[in-house]
């Protein structure tokens, strides 16, 4: 059982290591990457199957009982996130086979992707705060390298901000670990959850929470800590942006959910208000940012922020229904947002630009691509019966049931502006005629169009679209699972008992 958990981490790690052995040998790296990512996804499915049977699976690394060693814990939420990681890694990986330039491949794109998947899954599975920090750091360094790989001016500018702000966040994270250890004398999350009740003053726990709020707030890009995201996310090649968009901020959100349902569960008006404030401002300012942009990928990148706001909103409401909504919302945005990024990449391949002003006429020539975009974009805007609607519906309902009218109002206004920004893309890129004044570009474009869409780039987009429509049409099993997850999260005893063996 525990080896099923081990496999999802071991496979991408070994994939990364073997890619390093085949340094500069792009062909073999491709094969290794593909095999390992497929295997990882299968392992994640297998783990999910097993977790559904056993509720929680724990791997006590080194055979040392918790809290003395490091526990890796697969509960519903983390397994589900790992499964998403596998799927998205595979999809974006296939896309990058058709899209990534050879130079970047030669400079370690594949091993870096493997290590990224490894670290993201590790972060989801970790049951130990310091170990979580280590996973975060692996994730950071691999994302740093992926971000900067290629050394274009924009990438480096973005990377400097990205790196600096994330290092700052790590500093808060480390300090926060210090504070929590200083208060409870332990690192294992389940053990902390047990011992935190005996901390002499609840204010101290809140103090610790402030550190983690900053650390995770930066990672998940909430207001006012999100500045690194609009500065950098649109700079690397689109496959890299897509995998970042799919996974990295979600790790931050995951950590938020984990800490605020397991550790910081004490009554604190301050923290409640902080989360509500964060959720509302993040949603709204994020979507305003998207509305202000005039570049395909920038709109999408900045828009990530507003969706993080939705997730925090669910956490702020904190009822079972709300958490259920959050879980569903995560599936929804991971699929849809990644897909939109990939589509923007295809449009760029076809038309040679991401600037709305320079684009146009895609609906005319590529109706199928337009259809794929429409599905994802309107899903993002929350149109039924696409997945975005269910996500929004669950959160709005949760908000209304819990009298969180202010949050609901902001959420709905945000939905409106999302529609506005998505229809802007649609208008400019797809419906509008292609501007004719730039004849040179036209020639270049024609050349590119021949390379245009290939199977590797189209396949993942189609597959993700099918999945995202699938989770909308067959929303019931997903919601059922999401509800189980919420229930598990809101009853931390299950987690604690499973990790520590018995409640101490």
């Amino acid at each position: 059982m525990e080896n099923e958990l081990l496999l999802v981490l071991l496979i991408p790690l070994l994939g990364g290591i073997f890619s390093l052995f085949f340094w500069m040998d792009v062909k073999r790296q491709k094969v290794v990457f593909l095999i390992s990512t497929i295997a990882m996804t299968l392992a994640a499915i297998n783990l999910m199957r097993s977790v559904l049977e056993n509720e929680v699976i724990t791997l006590q690394s080194g055979g040392w009982d918790a809290p003395f060693g490091i526990s890796l814990v697969a509960d519903y939420l983390s397994t589900f996130m790992v499964l998403l990681t596998g799927i998205m890694g595979l999809a974006v990986g296939i896309y990058s086979l058709g899209d990534m330039d050879r130079a970047r491949m030669r400079f370690g794109f594949f091993p870096l992707m493997s290590f990224l998947l490894f670290s993201v899954s590790g972060a989801f599975l970790s049951g130990d705060i310091f170990n979580l920090y280590v996973w975060f750091e692996i994730m950071l360094i691999s994302s740093f390298v992926l971000m900067a790989l290629g050394n274009t001016k924009a990438q480096l500018e973005g990377a400097i901000k990205y790196v600096t702000l994330n290092i700052m966040a790590s500093i808060f994270f480390l300090a926060g670990i210090g504070v929590l250890y200083g208060l409870t004398g332990t690192l294992n999350m389940a053990d902390i959850a047990l011992r935190i009740n005996s901390v002499p003053d609840e204010g101290l726990i809140t103090l610790a929470a402030v550190f983690f709020f900053i650390a995770f707030g930066v990672k998940s890009a909430v207001f006012p800590l999100f500045s690194w995201l609009p500065a950098s996310y649109h700079t690397p090649p689109v496959a890299i942006t897509a995998i970042f968009a799919a996974l990295l901020t979600k790790v931050g959100v995951y950590a938020f959910i984990r800490f605020f349902t397991l550790i910081f569960t004490h009554e604190s008006l301050f923290l409640d208000n902080l989360l509500i404030f964060t959720a509302a401002t993040t949603m709204f300012i994020g979507v305003l940012g998207a509305a202000a942009q005039m570049e395909f990928r920038k709109i999408l990148s900045v828009h990530i922020i507003s969706q993080i706001g939705y997730l925090i909103m669910g956490l702020a409401i904190g009822t079972k229904l709300a958490i259920t909504g959050v879980v569903y919302f995560i599936i929804h945005i991971v699929f849809v947002k990644t897909n939109l990024f990939l589509i923007s990449g295809i449009v760029n391949r076809l038309k040679g630009s991401y600037e709305l002003k320079k684009l146009g006429g895609v609906y005319h020539t590529y109706p199928f691509l337009a259809l794929l975009f429409v599905i994802s974009a309107f899903s993002l805007a929350g149109f039924p019966p696409l997945s975005g609607f269910w996500a929004k519906f669950a959160l709005v309902k949760a908000g209304l049931v819990s009298d969180a009218y202010f949050l609901v109002l902001v959420a709905l206004a945000t939905g409106f502006l999302t529609l506005y920004s998505m229809s802007k893309i649609w208008n400019e890129v797809f419906w509008k005629k292609k501007p004719e004044d730039e004849t040179n570009l036209e020639v270049e474009t024609l050349k590119k169009e021949r390379a245009g869409i290939n199977r590797q780039v189209l396949l993942p987009v189609v597959a993700i679209t099918v999945m995202s429509v699938g989770v909308a049409i067959w929303a019931e099993p997903i919601f059922y699972f999401a509800e189980m997850t919420a229930e598990q999260l809101l009853n931390p005893e299950i987690y604690i008992v499973n990790v520590l063996g018995v409640a101490q």
Binding site: A148, I160, K161, T186, R195, L204, K397, L412, L417
Partner: protein
């Protein structure tokens, strides 16, 4: 064309149910969709749904047949028909749904598919704008509606409309009642083009005419009316319900008809009269008496028949003559006798002339306003004005196009093909048929009115009620209308005679709102995301300081007196040395000095580790420090010469932020260390390291055994860093050369 068979089949199926539904039965079926969220696909066919469903499928079949010919030769008709059929299906779903959420889903789907229909001529900028306008307004209202429906569901404890309408009292007590009502009304108003949201409908005339005929007369715009009618058993009698519907419906009705007669574009006239008609319907629902509901139900049908017909006629005229300007058209009857006849019949119905169905409808409207308890003169005169202007509009649509002055067309028009004529002809015939034999439809309309107003008196439509107030009013309206038409006819510049400032138009307000939203978005984004790294950092640190101070204010400043209790000289020396070195690192004016001082701080840290029993840490720190300095020296000469100095004020501000941050961290460390530590882990490691971990160096045992996973992660970080550094340095310089390392 073949597509028309689908709605036709549905129509036929509906007709088979006609008998039972008219008899008061309800056909329903249900399928659990997302039970976890309380959502099922449940359908419910009662009188009201039946009425709408018949319109949707019947007119749908006609419109599809018509469009098959109309759209011939136009680009991408397959996508067009796809959207149209999607719309049709979702409209049908809307009126059949019993579950309020599945109703909402279909509601949004109609907005969605109409977006693509309105934007059919998408390479034209205006067309795109109109489509977006319609989408944003209806979807914006949709958001309100969603909230309203959920509130309704929460308050009533059910998501099924058929149950909710029976729980009116329960709902009224739930406290969510008024909010739910307001939100639902907003949603319906946007969809049904009520003032002040009405302007999207005339803009939506950018759509191909079959679309307008279908969406903007008979179906989509009526969805709001449908939903208002559907929920009116719940809200009827509630505070504000009547007033809101009456006032906004009334304004929409009068305003719409007034603007209509000032137009010259056929489709614009139709659009504004439709707006007006929708206002009329909302107003009737607002009156909310049994008779008003009957009037509403009848008018829904009457309006759909004549307005659908007129739109299709307009399409034919446009198609065959290339113009929709009534001032340019004229005397077309001879070339287009069938079209002309249909148009005349429809216009007569619109004008409310017996024996057409529109007449019956008008009679009931007058009856309902006369029977009203309050404000009846005001509403009656509103009806009167509207009725009069309808007559005028009818004259414009028929007389000015098919008779009247000679036309100024360049091409010679001819009659349209049969497939296009079928639609208007059938609708016109129905207008006559139902007028004369109103008994045919009476049972269905009766059922519909029973649904909207449970316990309504049975409906009994007749053409001839004898001479009564309604009839007199009707006739007066007619006369006044003819006079109004004459006025319009002889004053071609009516439009420019009445100058309405743009600024008071709701469409201007919409534009302003969207513009200011864009402006706001831009300003906020530029402010928050201004591109300065140091601002980002200070936001992060500042946020932390604020939050930490809020929490820390509950704790006193820790006791510092113990400070000098147990001091050793070399401690102080090291501490002071490090502080000084740190200070010099900060203020140093040369890079080398800064780095040298940095080294001193680093070795100082190592010394602290030695003092407090951490030899492994000290060793590592020293080696790392050395390596970092080496690294620095290796890259230093490539780095910019020191340093840009910030202005004094900014510097001072940054100094304050960092000093505050440092102070907070000191405070926190002292605070936390003033409590005793639960050291169960410490003890366990002390005991287990040698017997279980086989090592005497406990730190090492933890690193390679107890917590070896951390160490594994750590070395992965190092490996990736090496790969990354290599990539950073080599990527541009040796792009594609084979690599030796």
């Amino acid at each position: 064309m073949v597509l028309a068979l689908y709605p036709a089949a549905a129509f036929v199926w509906l007709m088979t149910q006609f008998g039972s539904v008219s008899g008061g039965d309800v056909v329903s079926s249900s399928w659990d969709w997302v039970p976890t969220m309380g959502i099922s696909l449940s359908f419910h066919l009662d009188g009201l749904s039946m009425l709408f469903a018949l319109l949707i499928t019947g007119i749908g079949a006609l419109v599809l047949t018509y469009a098959g010919t109309y759209m011939k030769g136009m680009p991408k008709t397959d996508r067009f028909f796809m959207s149209l059929v999607l719309f049709m299906a979702s409209m049908l779903g809307l009126v059949l749904s019993d579950n309020i959420i599945s109703l909402f889903i279909f509601w949004e789907l109609t907005s969605f598919s109409s977006y693509f229909l309105i934007g059919y001529h998408h390479e034209d900028k205006e067309s795109r704008k109109s489509a977006l306008e319609a989408l944003l307004i209806t979807a914006g209202g949709g958001l309100a509606l969603l909230a309203g429906l959920i509130l309704l569901g929460i308050g009533g404890g059910s998501m099924e409309m058929s149950e909710l309408v029976q729980r009116g009292d329960e709902l009224a007590e739930s406290g969510l009642f008024t909010a739910a009502m307001l939100l639902i009304i907003i949603g319906c108003f946007t969809k049904s083009a009520q003032f002040p949201f009405h302007f999207w409908l005339p803009s939506a005339m950018a759509a191909p005419t079959p679309v307008s005929a279908y969406l903007h007369s008979a179906t989509m715009v009526k969805a709001g009316v449908y939903l208002l009618a559907r929920v009116s058993p719940v809200f009827n009698g509630a505070d504000g319900w009547h007033a809101l519907l009456l006032i906004f419906g009334g304004i929409t009705m009068v305003l719409g008809s007034m603007i209509a007669v000032m137009q010259t574009d056929l489709k614009k006239i139709l659009a504004y009269t439709t707006v007006s008609a929708l206002g009329l319907l909302v107003m009737l629902l607002g009156i909310g008496t049994g008779i008003a509901i009957k009037a509403a139900v009848i008018f829904i049908l009457a309006h759909a028949l004549y307005k659908g017909c007129l739109f299709l006629v307009a399409g034919i005229v446009d198609h065959e003559t290339g113009s929709r300007n009534i001032r340019k058209l004229g005397r077309l009857f001879k070339q287009m006798p069938v079209t002309g006849t249909a148009a005349v019949v429809a216009c007569l119905s619109m004008a409310g002339i017996p024996p057409l169905f529109g007449f019956i409808s008008k009679e009931y409207s007058y009856e309902s306003t006369i029977g009203m308890v309050v404000n009846s003169p005001l509403t009656t005169s509103a009806f009167f004005i509207t009725g009069m202007l309808f007559v005028a509009a009818a004259g414009m649509l028929s007389y000015m196009v098919f008779f009247g002055r000679r036309n100024k067309l360049k091409i010679k028009p001819h009659e349209a093909p049969i497939t296009m004529l079928a639609g208007p002809a059938v609708l016109a015939v129905l207008s006559i048929l139902l007028g004369v034999f109103s008994g045919l439809i009476n049972p269905l309309l009766d059922q519909a009115s029973q649904v909207v107003f449970p316990g309504n008196e049975p409906l009994n439509m007749k053409l001839w009620h004898g001479i009564n107030t309604e009839l007199i009013l009707s006739m007066t309206t007619l006369v006044a209308g003819i006079a109004a038409f004459a006025f319009v006819y002889y004053n071609p510049r009516l439009m420019s005679m009445i100058e309405i400032s743009d600024k008071i138009k709701p469409s201007y307000a919409y534009k302003q709102t969207m513009d200011s939203l864009a402006e706001l978005a831009k300003n906020v984004t530029q402010k928050v995301q201004n591109g300065y790294l140091r601002v980002y950092i200070s936001m992060m640190v500042g946020t932390f300081c604020v939050l930490a101070l809020i929490v820390l204010q509950d704790f006193g400043i820790p006791n510092i007196e113990v400070l000098w209790s147990d001091f050793r000289v070399y401690d102080i020396v090291i501490g002071v040395l490090m502080i000084v070195a740190c200070f010099y690192t900060v203020v140093a004016k040369s890079r080398l000095l800064a780095i040298a001082m940095l080294g001193v701080v680093g070795y100082g840290v190592a010394f602290v580790f030695i003092i407090f029993g951490a030899p492994d840490l000290a060793m590592t720190q020293i080696l790392i420090e050395t390596l970092t300095v080496v690294l620095f020296v290796l890259v230093l000469w490539k780095l910019p010469h020191y340093l840009i100095f910030d202005e004094g004020f900014i510097k001072f501000r940054y100094f304050l932020v960092s000093a505050l941050f440092g102070a907070i961290m000191t405070w926190i460390v002292m605070l936390i260390t003033s409590y005793p530590l639960d050291s169960h882990l410490k003890a366990w490691f002390a005991e287990s390291s040698y017997p279980l971990g086989m090592g005497r160096n406990v730190v090492n045992v933890i690193l390679v055994d107890f917590r070896s996973l951390d160490t594994l992660g750590e070395i992965v970080v190092l490996g990736i860093a090496a790969v990354g550094i290599y990539g950073l340095i080599k990527f541009t310089t040796e792009n594609d050369k084979e690599e030796a390392i």
